[in-house]
């Protein structure tokens, strides 16, 4: 299958700042792809290049089989976009904005529009000047989700939403996935990405540092183990890939490189396991590892 989005070696500078420095990104059809990175790492710039609003300095960018800069208008007919910071026209009501965006897209599903307004609990009669940040975000979300676009570009779409609305948003994304839509979801809310995304790309300073499914990425990090055995545990520090050991007779807590998990479990079973809890690494740990607060930076380099 040809990827929906395929970016290789993307470079973009603004004056002397290099916003993107050889970024790579592949989004397969039908997947929800998490686009992770801290503020200012280049997520929005990448999305603006995909929208043809900015022109790439170097690199290959293909989206939906076309060139985002030259074929912008045709491609825009097949995608919907939610900006990270939604600004609206103060004197125009939310309902009017939703209809306008729908019509610019070539029509929208009235039934779906009504249903989304209900789900996001949005009053369409209020003028945009009186909307809170969250409500402006909802206007953009309803406009995008009511369209029948095959690709959705969502730039931190839940940054102003309360937890209830965030849940409503997740339900909508699940539905979209079931309908076979492709979604690029830029975010720094890791729980959201973990819950929604099939694959993840982590970027830093305008460059992709990690990309793959969540399980692939987890493989590169450590699993936390808490264990109680029949016989006293000894020699554990000799096992490969073990870190941060806390030993107390027959009880132990330690982290193990996921690559060496199997060896550790085999050693433990020889001691007679009474209870065992293993916690897979969270995305947060993965993420932090790339941004300087890693528990052990060498582990990252070795991987």
């Amino acid at each position: 299958m040809t990827p929906v989005i395929s970016v290789a070696g993307l470079v973009k500078s603004f004056g002397r700042t290099r916003a993107l420095d050889g970024l790579d990104l592949e989004v397969e059809p039908g997947e929800v792809h998490g686009f992770l990175g801290p503020n200012g790492s280049g997520k929005s710039t990448t999305i603006r290049i995909l929208l043809g609003l900015l022109r790439a300095d170097a690199g290959d960018v293909r989206m939906l089989g076309g060139d985002p800069w030259n074929d912008a208008v045709e491609l825009h007919g097949r995608l919907a976009y939610v900006p990270g910071d939604v600004t609206l026209w103060p004197g125009i009501s939310g309902g009017e904005v939703i209809d306008l965006m729908g019509r610019l897209h070539g029509g929208l599903d009235r039934r779906r529009r009504a249903e989304l307004l209900e789900r996001f609990d949005l009053d369409p009669r209020k003028k945009a000047r009186t909307y809170s940040k969250g409500n402006r975000q909802k206007v953009a979300l309803v406009a995008a989700l009511a369209s029948d676009a095959e690709l959705l570009l969502l730039d931190e779409p839940t940054s102003g939403l309360d937890p209830l609305m965030e849940a409503a948003f997740r339900d909508c994304v699940e539905e979209m996935r079931r309908n076979g839509r492709t979604i690029l979801l830029s975010s720094h809310i890791l729980a959201e990405v973990e819950a929604l995304c099939d694959r993840v790309s982590i970027i830093r300073l305008g460059r992709t540092v990690e990309s793959g499914t969540l399980s692939e990425l987890r493989h590169l990090t450590r699993t936390s183990i808490a264990v109680e055995t029949e016989r006293p545990i000894s020699g554990i520090e000799e096992w490969p890939g073990v870190n941060d050991l806390v030993l107390n007779g027959t009880q132990a807590r330690f982290d193990v490189d996921t690559a060496h998990l199997d060896t550790a479990v085999r050693h433990l079973s020889e001691l007679g396991v009474r209870s065992l809890t293993s916690t897979p690494p969270t995305l947060e740990e993965l993420f932090l590892r790339h941004y300087g607060q890693a528990p052990d930076p060498e582990a990252g380099e070795a991987a």
Binding site: I98, R103, K126
Partner: protein
């Protein structure tokens, strides 16, 4: 009140650039008028004759002020300029107060300030102090301009005080209306309406018995009769009005929520109407209010000019030497028509430029981004806004010509003036479009400088238009303004060639702007 001092210092810093221009404008207005009047009517005989002709002319009295002012040359200056000066100073106060209170609340900036150790009244008090300082400065500068051009000291002090007092009335009036309306636009609309009503009341009063003038803050100022009677007591009315509106503003402020107005905001439509469905519909929706306002203003101003034409003719017949100065008594009506329509053309160009500058604001605010992420091409987005800017400015000219023609036609009972002046007004359209085209070129290639480029060009054309006859600017400097190439109909005969040339240049600039916009990054 806590924090007012700190806020005032901040506001002074924030407004210092704009304020200089307002102060300079007011000073130049008064100083220029004073110098001009004194050289034109240098002898007491001139002044006596002027009193006869001007004082007996209803239209001139309605446009200017009470005839009692015409006793001295200083009074004559006040008679001619005080109305305009009042408008400039009232608008300055409206913007100073409105921008630093309601529009800060509207954008949410004030929330941050109010969350600090700052009292509820502090932002309003700080804005009013800023306006008060500006009014004192205007008063002092007008005084200096008066004395500097050789007018008596006593009268100059009074006229300075009168204009400062008038400014204070409008500052506190704005402060009170800020509490009522939730949007800055609503506030400005209400203040502008109040200003228009004041002007009309004083016009009606000065033409009639004078009673209605006492209902207008502009009337209070004029009726101090600086340089002639020099009476101070009418300023007590200004001070009383200032105190009452200030107390009202503070009382109303205590009765409303932050960000809200006393008038609840009307809810909008739940669904979009048929017209809001394309980039063109959006551009129309965003600019229709402004276009309606500008067009209505153009119509009223042009109608006022039109009603004036007949008096100009009489005036020229009575004052052959002034008629000579204006280009001969036979031509004086036509040259007046040409001049006033050129002023209308500048107004229409200003509207067109605001349309292009607005596109840049759409871009930097992020509002253009979601529109351009739909199958709307950059060309369609540009075309939609330009269509309103170009079409709207042409409409303004047509309406201005119609209005001037209508009023003139009534006063001389000649309906043929209506189509004639409408056609004459439309002759200016290519030059207006050239300025809009220049703004579009800026938007395409030097987006950050769109507004400075467009307004500098506009200012240049305005200066050339106003001072072309009276100064000896070199030929080439004048010819830089497209308006100087427009045949001065009805004074000159019409010729199509310059219009075509200007039209072609305008088209080239517009296309150039499109080419630039197509190839550049958006939003930066």
């Amino acid at each position: 009140m806590t924090g007012s001092g700190v806020l005032l210092r901040f506001l002074l810093r924030r407004e210092r650039r704009g304020l200089v221009w307002w102060l300079l404008g007011a000073t130049v207005l008064f100083g220029y008028q004073s110098a001009g009047s004194q050289s034109l009517y240098s002898t007491p005989e001139d002044l006596a004759k002027l009193r006869q002709t001007m004082g007996g002319n209803t239209a001139i009295v309605a446009m200017s002020g009470p005839t009692e002012l015409l006793d001295t040359i200083g009074g004559e200056v006040v008679f001619e300029i005080f109305g305009y000066l009042a408008i400039v100073v009232a608008l300055m106060n409206m913007f100073l107060v409105g921008r630093n209170t309601r529009s800060d609340e509207e954008t949410g900036r004030a929330e941050l300030i109010r969350s600090a150790r700052v009292g509820r009244h502090a932002p309003l008090i700080a804005a009013l102090c800023l306006a008060g300082l500006a009014d004192v400065a205007v008063g002092t500068l007008v005084f200096a301009a008066g004395v500097g051009t050789g007018l008596p000291v006593g009268g100059s002090v009074l006229v300075g005080a009168a204009i400062a007092a008038l400014g204070l009335v409008y500052a506190t009036l704005t402060a009170a209306l800020v509490q009522v309306f939730q949007s800055t636009r609503g506030v400005y609309g209400a203040v502008a309406l109040a200003l228009g009503v004041s002007y009309m009341l004083r016009a009606a009063g000065d033409v009639g018995g004078g009673a209605l003038s006492w209902a207008s803050p502009i009337g209070w100022g004029q009726r101090t009769f600086p340089y002639s009677d020099n009476r101070w007591w009418p300023l007590l009315l200004s001070i009383a009005a200032t105190v009452i509106t200030l107390l009202a503003a503070l009382a109303l402020l205590d009765r409303r929520d932050f960000g809200a107005g006393l008038l609840p905001a009307r809810p909008g439509r739940a669904t979009a109407g048929w017209s809001l469905g394309s980039p063109y519909g959006l551009a129309w929706r965003l600019q229709r209010g402004a276009l309606a306002g500008w067009t209505a203003g153009a119509f009223l101003l042009a109608a006022a000019y039109g009603s004036f034409v007949d008096s100009v003719q009489d005036f020229a017949t009575d004052n052959p030497e002034i008629a000579d100065y204006l280009g001969g008594s036979a031509n004086v009506v036509d040259s007046f028509l040409a001049l006033t329509l050129a002023i209308m053309a500048l107004l229409a160009a200003a509207f067109g430029i605001t349309g292009v500058v607005r596109m840049r604001a759409e871009e930097t605010s992020g509002r253009a981004e979601p529109v351009l992420a739909t199958p709307t091409s950059r060309g369609a987005w540009l075309a939609s806004h330009l269509l309103v800017a170009l079409g709207g400015s042409a409409l303004m000219m047509a309406v201005a010509g119609f209005g001037e023609g209508l009023a003139y036609a009534f006063s001389v009972s000649d309906p043929a003036q209506i189509p004639r002046l409408t056609a004459v007004a439309l002759v200016h359209v290519p030059a207006i479009w050239l300025l809009v085209g220049l703004a579009a070129l800026g938007l395409g290639w030097l987006p950050r400088f769109t507004a400075p480029i467009a307004w500098t060009a506009f200012g240049y054309c305005a200066v050339i238009a106003v001072f072309a006859g009276s100064t000896d600017l070199p030929e080439w400097a004048q010819s830089l303004s497209p308006f100087t190439h427009i045949p001065e109909v009805p004074l000159e005969t019409f010729s199509a060639t310059p219009l075509l040339t200007i039209g072609i240049v305008a088209t080239v600039l517009l296309i150039g702007g499109y080419v630039g916009l197509r190839r550049r990054d958006l939003g930066y």
